[in-house]
Amino acid sequence: MPPQTKDSTALAAPEEGGSCVLSEDQALRMIAFLTSAAEISIHEPTYYGTFRLVDAASRLIAFMLEHDPPRSGEFLRELKTELDTKKVWMMWDRESYFDFLRATPAVVAAEVKRQADEDRAASEVSA
């Protein structure tokens, strides 16, 4: 059984031991946001789409933090601060904003890799 969260409607991660990081209500609100962003992207400047995606990531992190994700919490808190501080650069310093967009996936990749390395080490120990 996956670990219980504060929210009984939280969606369970499929894999054994996965954390529950999004409630049904939060998932629905994310869907509302994403479909609305898709609609307004029809007529807004194309680079606004990048802002919507970064903002969606920030909103997703906010929801996840409500469930105290045990492995990613600290990383996500720092990433959210970074996203919220720099996403608004789009409005007055577009080049710095684009540099921030180019750099951010590597920051996330480092955390994904760190967790993958942890998992690999744990599986080797258990085997």
Binding site: A32, F33, E39, I40, Y48, W92, D93
Partner: protein, 192 residues
């Protein structure tokens, strides 16, 4: 004080209000009094209206649940303010006034109404932010509006949290009015 001096003093005050207004997206939790919200809408009512048609209606909500739902369908709504005022197109009035689809005057009237509200809010010490990046169909649904009313713009309203704008080290230089102005001919930035 002469009439001219009085007019200049009034003009200076109005310009100070216009010039000091900034977009506010962060608000204290303090509710906005209903009479202040009513003053904003009254200011909007006195905005210019093409052909005196008054095609627009105003919808006010202070309900946090409604505001949270609206935010879900509004990527441009970056926080949840204490109040939202929507400028709605009333399609029954538009049809009666024979407004054509795509008539720019409609958008202009939305803008003048919003600007009047923002100016009045600044004079009252309130903060505002106009938002148009939202799903009209989604917001119409969560507000329970009939199909004859379309939300065109929403105005975030609240008591603003002061923002230290000096932090913006990468902010662009302010735009000069001279650069935006042509006198008598395109490209001529000074009166001849």
């Amino acid at each position: 004080m002469s009439q001219s001096q009085t007019q200049n003093a009034v003009a200076d005050t109005v310009f100070d209000v216009i010039k000091s207004r900034r977009v506010s997206r962060t608000f204290t939790g303090e509710p906005v009094d209903d009479d202040l919200l009513a003053k904003l809408v009254n200011a909007a009512r006195w905005a210019s209206s093409a052909g005196n048609r008054h095609v627009h209606k105003f919808f006010i909500t202070r309900d946090p649940v409604k505001i949270r739902l609206v935010r879900s369908f509004s990527p441009g709504l970056l926080s949840e303010p204490p109040a939202l005022i929507f400028v709605l197109t009333d399609h029954e009035v538009a049809a009666r006034e024979r407004l054509q689809e795509g008539d720019d005057a409609n958008a202009v009237d939305v803008g003048t109404a919003a600007q009047n509200m923002m100016t009045m809010a600044q004079a009252l010490g309130l903060g505002t932010c106009p938002v148009t990046s939202f799903s009209k169909s989604g917001v119409r649904e969560v507000l329970g509006l009939p199909s004859t009313l379309t939300p065109e713009l929403m105005l975030m309203v609240g008591h603003p949290v002061p923002v230290d704008r000096s932090l913006r080290t990468n902010a662009p230089k302010p735009v000069r009015v001279k650069d935006l102005t042509y006198w008598e001919a395109a490209g001529q930035h000074e009166p001849s």
